[in-house]
């Protein structure tokens, strides 16, 4: 789904779109319901910030940051060995710093801005570089369920605009751009050089994340135009990062002491704290993706929570039946898998759809992680591909089945009479897999050549904390 609701539903109305403003008959009609008692239809009022929507979106933005640091950082950090936890935490922190700057420098403009000519469906331009021309009281040109007339008209049709400040939208999206490369860390943990990692991540954000975000979420994006649904980033975030993870895991080769055996997590309470903070923060991620504090946010929250609960429970049962005992690492992994899978679907499915997605993702990911990975023998340290990649793919496809018009009237999946949607989803998934896979491969080769990516045997044995950062996570004295 594009963040611009309109054109996907009114593809038939041929009209020249402004790059980031929208014609909105339909939204217009639902406006009185949304605006808080405003008598909007009768008088011309200047478009105004909706403080409720803004309050929620500011918080949602902060929540998505919390997902990366310390959420994901602890989830991953607890799973590695004691000698490597700081390296993982450090990677999460430095990505947060660097990608945030990249985002205001050019990332936002490339992903959500517009360009001219043949490039338009594939990448934005640089007009918003360093947020040039974006003012403090500008309203967000992007919106989903809640908008207002901007006061401008095109061909006599009122142009709609969002209800939150443009800056809030930029910040909210920034946190997505931050967490995506952070997810890949799981694949190469315990064996990557820090310098190479840093350069790789920055290039990946620039050349892989920004275009894919443009395809799916910009009004000009080609996948958006095709009608691909991705409520909160199943394709852009999870498949994208998951496939990159797989490529990195294979290219970097196994850890030297991997020998086909997993290594037990060094601090499972940290894994649990991380998973809980991911769960908590994900409400910002998913329920925030409607860009408003309304029924759609509530529905996305519900779908997110129920899918996660179902996935966590299912994984525990699989552990119990197949692995003999239900494990905390299993429940935490299941919860994360559930969160991943419901991400593209959160704003489209009802509670039953969410439950089914939750159960299915744990079945699939458990199978991937417990059976497929060991057979294939690649070393995806913390199952970034197994959980995020597979979970994202599954979620994106199931969105094409379970999307119900009861949630957003304009969107239906195959089970609600629109099999075409499933085909579109399949196409979006495939395009992302190919682009992310090939792009990551190329970046790997270049960065590996120029800077080196694989830690030396000595560095790996000593632990990356000591060898890359000169620090030890825990002292044993005093």
């Amino acid at each position: 789904m594009s963040f611009k609701l309109m054109w996907t539903t009114h593809k038939d109305i041929k009209m020249k779109k402004l790059s980031v403003a929208f014609f909105a008959f339909f939204t217009f009609l639902s406006f009185p319901l949304m605006a808080q008692g405003a008598s909007a239809a009768t008088a011309v009022v200047a478009p105004a910030i909706n403080t409720g929507d803004t309050a929620w979106m500011i918080v949602a933005t902060a929540l998505v940051l919390l997902m990366t640091i310390p959420g994901l950082a602890l989830f991953y950090g607890g799973l590695v060995r004691r000698k490597n936890i700081l390296n993982v935490l450090m990677q999460c922190f430095i990505i947060t710093a660097v990608i945030s700057i990249e985002w205001v420098a050019c990332g936002y403009s490339l992903a959500f801005g517009s360009s001219k000519g043949v490039l338009a469906p594939f990448i934005g331009g640089f007009h918003w570089a360093f947020l040039h021309g974006i003012h403090i009281n500008d309203l967000s040109p992007y919106f989903i369920s809640h908008s207002q007339p901007s006061g401008k008209f095109v061909n006599g049709v009122p142009v709609m605009i969002g209800t939150i400040p443009h800056i809030v939208f930029i910040l909210f999206q920034m946190m997505f751009a931050v967490i995506t490369p952070a997810l890949i860390i799981g694949a190469f943990a315990e064996r990557i050089k820090f310098k190479g990692f840093l350069i790789f991540s920055l290039l990946w954000a620039l050349f892989i994340y920004n275009p894919v975000a443009h395809w799916v979420w910009s009004s000009d994006g080609w996948l958006a135009k095709l009608g691909a649904l991705d409520f909160a980033g199943g394709t852009v975030v999870h498949i994208n990062a998951g496939i990159a993870a797989l490529v990195m895991a294979i290219m970097l080769k196994k850890r030297r002491d991997y020998e086909g055996h997993a290594i037990p997590p060094h601090n499972i309470p940290f894994v649990a704290i991380g998973a809980a903070l991911l769960w908590f923060g994900w409400f910002g991620f998913n329920a925030g993706s409607g860009l408003a504090a309304d029924g759609l946010a509530a529905s996305a929250f519900l779908a997110t929570h129920i899918a996660t609960a179902a996935a966590a429970f299912t994984w525990a049962m699989l552990d119990w039946i197949i692995g003999k005992k239900p494990t905390l690492v299993g429940v935490a992994t299941g919860a994360v898998a559930g969160l991943v899978a419901i991400t593209p679907a959160a704003g489209f499915v009802d509670v039953v759809g969410a439950m089914v997605i939750g159960v299915m993702v744990s079945l699939v990911c458990f199978f991937m992680v417990a059976y497929v990975k060991p057979r294939l023998g690649y070393d995806d340290t913390l199952d970034a591909f197994g959980v995020h990649g597979m979970g994202g793919i599954l979620g994106a496809l199931l969105t094409g089945l379970f999307a119900t018009p009861a949630i957003q009237a304009a969107y239906s999946g195959a089970f609600y009479g629109n099999p075409h949607q499933f085909v579109v989803q399949l196409l979006a998934v495939s395009a992302t897999i190919v682009y992310s896979g090939v792009g990551t491969f190329i970046l790997f080769v270049i960065v590996n050549k120029l800077f080196g990516l694989r830690a030396t045997e000595q560095q790996e044995a000593l632990g990356l904390d000591e060898s890359m950062h000169g620090e030890a996570a825990y002292t044993t004295f005093d």
């Binding site: 055996h261 997993a262 290594i263 037990p264 997590p265 699989l318 552990d319 197949i322 692995g323 003999k324 005992k325 494990t327 690492v329 299993g330 992994t333 458990f366 992680v369 417990a370 059976y371 990975k373 060991p374 199952d383």
Partner: protein, 121 residues
Amino acid sequence: MKKIEAIIRKSKFEDVKKALYEVGIDWFSYWDITGLGKSTADQVVRGQVFHSHYIQRHMLSIVVRDQNVDKTVNAIMKAARTGEMGDGKIFVSDIEATYRIRTGESGPDALFNHEHELEEK
């Protein structure tokens, strides 16, 4: 005096503690060690079974007067046994001198509280 070092399962620690108290061992020290060997223990992480070479154990260290060695060893042996692989080992070695820091006493005397010993008799 002899030093008795025993490597035991964590799960048998409570039993061993009781057994030692029963034979009159008032004090001992222990710490966590990792045993590492070719044999393995199974562990399941995310559904994937893996064989860990690392096993968590307790190391007990007790210094006793010569006459108490046998009963101490026997007490540990009985209490720590499950009969399955991995029950651990007991090592006995010689201690040439012992000092009680509090009083400066040395020799076997440093190993027990006179008052205590007398009481027990």
